[in-house]
């Protein structure tokens, strides 16, 4: 559906998909044959992708995002929340460019969108049983196992079972958010080091007018008002 949900993380942002992303979708989903073997094949025909996006824009409860690297502003991946049913939804259409390290933070951002912005109580995934790397990824974040659905997917004429795993809001806020945030912060430090050089961080700062409004996505350990910034601007540190 057409939505306007945007969220910034440490190194990546999620923003709504647009028609102009059609070629990126095609290129990304067709880039890596091995990784794409467990997702529905799409046609390299750009017009078909544009048609698909036009029908997606009309579909309620379907939120398709592009993940962009905040350091380079380059698009690196795709992720979606869909099949919304009450306060439960599925997430998927999860594909990243080869060499991207954006998958983890994008998953974290999708959970934040689901539980903080959309008011959902549960997000689940259905993964082809043979796709062990993705099944194990969900296991590694302690997503709970719900069921195996026999022959749910048909890819290239072959049927596959799917594994349904889920994360609920309580578990996300009590345990998972902090775990994922910590890893994203570590990745941010790595990316920052690559971007501007080799030194050790002891704090990060943001200058802003209203900490609660502008920095509500960040954990603040403390802040101080900076007289040099003027206008009551504050300098937040310690995410």
């Amino acid at each position: 559906m057409k939505h306007n949900i945007r969220i910034n993380g440490y190194s990546y942002r999620l923003r709504p998909i647009e028609l102009e992303d059609a070629q990126f979708i095609v290129d990304t989903r067709l880039e890596d044959e091995k990784k794409s073997q467990y997702i529905h094949k799409i046609s390299p025909d750009l017009d078909l992708q544009i048609n698909w996006l036009n029908s997606y824009f009309e579909r309620d409860g379907d939120y398709y995002f592009v993940a962009e690297n905040l350091f380079t502003n380059e698009r690196e991946g795709l992720i979606s929340i869909y099949n919304t049913n009450g306060d439960i939804a599925e997430w998927g259409r999860f594909v990243f460019r080869r060499g991207s390290l954006g998958a983890l933070e994008s998953v974290n951002l999708v959970y934040k969108i689901a539980f903080k912005k959309l008011g959902l109580k549960e997000l689940y995934t259905r993964t082809v049983e043979d796709n062990t790397a993705v099944v194990n990824f969900h296991k590694s974040i302690n997503a709970k196992f719900r069921t195996i659905i026999k022959d749910e997917f048909e890819l290239d004429g072959k049927k596959y079972n799917s594994i349904e795993q889920y994360v609920d809001k309580d578990y996300y806020f009590s345990t998972l958010e902090e775990k994922l945030d910590t890893k994203c912060q570590k990745l941010f430090e790595r990316n920052m080091k690559n971007a501007i050089g080799n030194f050790r961080f002891h704090h990060y700062g943001i200058a802003c007018k209203n900490i609660d409004i502008e920095c509500n996505e960040y954990k603040k350990s403390d802040y101080f008002e900076d007289e040099f910034l003027g206008g009551g601007k504050r300098f937040v540190y310690g995410f």
């Binding site: 990243f96 060499g99 390290l101 998958a103 983890l104 990745l187 790595r190 690559n194």
Partner: protein, 74 residues
């Protein structure tokens, strides 16, 4: 150097070094979360940085070892 890398992979993937040695050329024995941890730890340990192109080419333990070797020699 090889032993150090194997120890890092072992702690990120949760598989013993002995077991990993039998799977040096097996693709993607890690998930995306484990890969990020592994890459960050290896970069810190050897004070190197992988480019996105190099990251795309890292799918096996042998590939990590050869890339680190090449970077250290430069």
């Amino acid at each position: 150097m090889e032993e150090k890398i194997l120890n890092i992979v072992s702690s990120c993937v949760g598989t013993s070094v002995e077991e990993l040695k039998k799977h040096m050329d097996v693709e993607c024995i890690w998930d995306s979360l484990q890969k990020i941890e592994m890459i960050i730890t290896i970069e810190e340990e050897f004070d190197i940085s992988f480019t996105p192109q190099e990251l795309a080419e890292i799918n096996t333990i042998s590939q990590i070892i050869s890339k680190v070797q090449r970077k250290i020699q430069v």
